[in-house]
């Protein structure tokens, strides 16, 4: 296919982007009608995990540090929702902000000591958090139900207007899917917009040129802790969404392995762009659901009762392979692939020429040179991930 050049900000490019977005949304909305009933919950979980990985992208993509403890924040979110619904009679969706705030606070408590010092301390502290979380749940047994787990008496109710058709739209599961999809889209949109505000710009500046950012008065520690807390809060929302899909939780559900699989999703999806969370979640579900089920149902390792464990080896190999071959993850691969077909030409900001003429009155004979420089400034850059 011939490479096409699109100009940044042109109507054509906007239409292409909007079109791609519309196609993606249409697929997501139609999915519960296409797939079998039992798979709808898996899709809902995939979207919830996409939100959890989005939290990790926020942290790793913008501070360069990694958390091996996000399972704990997902767990705190899930427990917050179930405790509020089961014991205090809250409505399901109202618990989402509560989960967010609780995890935000937990994130500050964990992040402040670790993020003041750089290096691997955040990874260490979060790993300790992930290992500790199941026993913390048992310790707070009166609140969390301990090893017995916590159950909501009924799942999130389906309103009467929602079509209840067991063959195509599997009532409850499909409704939950749409609710989770809606929340996920809102969270993605909010995070995308946040990255274009003062806070987001400060984080990007800190990531790209820490010295210059500090010299401009950006407080490193404050913003790193803010990014970590925010990332924990987003993971908490993901936990609440998981509780909506399956309204029961137990202590070992949110263990170190979950954290590591979230990191695998992060690495496989790509940390440079918040949309990396989407391929990341697909990889996550493939490793945790599709491949183990396939190995067991096809009886590939005949006779070995632990055949599902082979996924662990695949996952480890995948993580190492991505670290070696495609550190930017799937989203970087897709961007490169897209770069073969589309070239996006950056244009200078509006009013730039007038501004230049105004501030730098040039001598005769230099105008040719300047226009050459101007052309060179228009070199195609790869489409930015976000």
């Amino acid at each position: 296919m011939k490479q096409r050049t699109l100009i940044e900000g042109s109507l054509q490019l906007r239409a292409t982007r909007l079109g791609a977005l519309a196609v993606g949304l249409a697929i997501l909305i139609l999915l519960p009608i296409i797939v079998a009933g039992s798979q709808i919950n898996v899709l809902s979980q995939m979207i919830a995990y996409a939100v959890a990985i989005l939290g990790l992208v926020l942290l790793t993509g913008y501070t360069g540090q990694i958390s091996i403890g996000h399972s704990a924040f997902v767990g705190i979110g899930a427990y917050t929702t179930l405790i509020l619904v089961a014991n205090h009679g809250w409505s399901w969706l109202v618990t989402l902000p509560a989960s967010f705030v609780v995890c935000l606070i937990a994130g500050v408590v964990v992040g402040v000591p670790a993020l003041r010092i750089s290096g691997l301390y955040l990874a260490t502290v979060t790993l300790a958090l992930a290992v500790m979380f199941p026993s913390l749940v048992d310790r707070l047994g009166s609140l969390t139900g301990g090893t017995a787990g916590l159950f909501a008496s009924s799942a999130m109710p389906v309103p009467s207007w929602f079509p209840e058709n067991s063959t195509t739209l599997n009532g409850q599961a499909a409704f939950h899917y749409y609710v989770i999809l809606g929340v996920a889209i809102i969270v993605f949109a909010l995070v995308r917009n946040l990255m274009r505000t003062r806070v987001g710009r400060a984080l990007i500046a800190l990531r790209d040129t820490p010295y210059a950012a500090t010299a401009s008065g950006i407080k490193v520690a404050h913003y790193k802790v803010a990014a970590f807390a925010l990332s924990a809060g987003v993971a908490g929302i993901a936990g609440s969404l998981l509780a909506i899909v399956l309204p029961n939780v137990f202590d070992t559900q949110f263990d170190l392995l979950l954290s590591i699989y979230l990191v695998i999703g992060l690495v496989a999806g790509g940390r440079a762009s918040i949309y990396g969370a989407i391929p990341g979640a697909i990889v996550f579900i493939a490793l945790n659901n599709w491949i183990p089920n396939g190995v067991v149902s096809l009886n590939l390792l005949s006779g070995n009762a632990n055949g599902g464990q082979s996924v662990g080896i695949i996952s480890g190999a995948l993580l190492v392979a991505f670290a070696f071959l495609l550190p930017g993850g799937a989203i970087e691969g897709l961007t490169r692939l897209g770069g073969r077909f589309f070239r996006i030409r950056q244009t200078p900001p509006r009013g730039w020429e007038a501004h230049k003429r105004h501030t730098e009155p040039m001598a005769d004979g230099e105008s040719d040179q300047v226009s050459a420089v101007g052309e060179r400034a228009e070199v195609s850059t790869q489409r930015e991930g976000h």
Binding site: I68, A128, M132, S135, L136, G312, I313, G316, F324
Partner: protein, 345 residues
């Protein structure tokens, strides 16, 4: 060091640095000693001396193993500035190798542990060569991801080969669970004393290796600056590889010594690793003797706190370890024995 009682005149010289380090260490140990002492007085009045002493012995014997595992973390950290998150899985795998030697090949326990230590050292050397060395040493994130990959793959491999049921593991002394010295009603097992001696000998061997041999000199040089080491013609990759191998041997040793009391099962080192993290953080991530000493401190503190502080309770030792990590990082990020590194930006 009693010889320097007052701060030296020159505030920047090497003497001054030594003075400040000695004195801040003395202050810290004093504070920790005072805290432990206060807790001990409360514990003795609360439950009697015999019970207290028993808890200290228990804490000491597990603390030695935390220290040995922390030693493994510190060896790798000194060489590469990366924490090997796969250490727990590697140690578990090594312990299973020893288990196979004992159970299927009929080895006595001591040769079995030695064979497992050598095998895991070779394996770690291979992992370092194949998966870690190709990366830029400053690319910490990539190396961290590789160690996570090693963790998850080795854990799964362990379950695939040996199943997920717990197994018994022989003691070093054949009647180790019954022979003990009784002191004021508390039992100090010979097994625990022997474990402490074994770990002490291993640590001594590593300290001697680092301070007395050419290889150790090269390793210390790499730890202090990779660039300078390279300029001096030191084979950086080789000495990092030796660090990984030694660390794996230390981890396997700790796992084999822990296994008799906890049973050997997949992931049984994950919990020990948590305490080892606490110990390594408390000792300062780059101090070998400090990590072992801090391991013993963590063991005793965990044993006493879970026994006498109702907020933790008997099952919540991991909470103590976690709190310890958070508090140390908040108050004294360099740990008790670590070098303080100035953080720019």
């Amino acid at each position: 060091m009693a010889s320097i009682a007052t701060p030296p005149q020159d505030p920047t010289g090497p003497m001054a640095e030594a003075w400040w380090r000695e004195h801040s260490l003395a202050t810290n140990l004093g504070v920790i000693g005072a805290l432990l002492g206060a807790l001990s007085i409360y514990a003795i009045t609360d439950g009697g001396f015999g019970l207290y002493l028993q808890r200290v012995f228990d804490g000491f014997s597990s603390g030695v193993l935390y220290g040995a595992t922390a030693l493994a973390l510190v060896l790798v950290f000194k060489a590469t500035k990366v924490i090997n998150f796969g250490q727990g899985a590697m140690a578990t795998f090594g312990a299973y190798l020893a288990y196979t030697c004992v159970n299927n090949l009929g080895f006595p326990i001591v040769p079995a542990i030695l064979v497992a230590m050598v095998a895991s050292a070779v394996m770690a050397g291979g992992i370092e060569r194949a998966l870690v060395r190709p990366f830029d040493p400053n690319n910490h994130l990539a190396i961290l991801l590789v160690t996570l990959g090693v963790y998850i793959a080795l854990s799964a491999l362990t379950i695939l080969i040996w199943g997920s049921n717990p197994h018994g593991f022989p003691n070093l002394i054949s009647d180790g669970s019954t022979s003990y010295i009784g002191i004021a009603g508390a039992r100090l097992y010979y097994e625990d004393i022997l474990e402490a001696v074994v770990v002490a000998v291993f640590v001594l061997a590593i300290v001697l290796l680092l301070s007395r041999t050419r290889l150790g000199l090269a390793m210390r040089c790499v730890a202090s600056s990779v660039e300078s080491a390279r300029l001096l013609g030191i084979n950086v990759g080789r000495s990092v590889q030796v660090s990984w191998a030694l660390a794996a041997a230390a981890g396997t040793l700790a796992a084999c010594l822990s296994a008799p009391s906890t049973f050997i099962q997949p992931g049984f080192m994950d919990n020990v690793l948590l305490y080892a993290f606490a110990a390594a953080t408390l000792g300062g991530l780059d101090s070998i003797v400090g990590s072992v000493f801090a391991g013993v401190l963590v063991g005793i503190a965990t044993s006493l706190l879970t026994a006498y502080v109702p907020a933790f309770g008997a099952e919540f030792g991991s909470g103590v370890a976690f709190l310890l990590i958070v508090i140390v990082l908040q108050i004294k990020p360099a740990g008790l024995f670590g070098r303080h590194v100035m953080e720019r930006v």
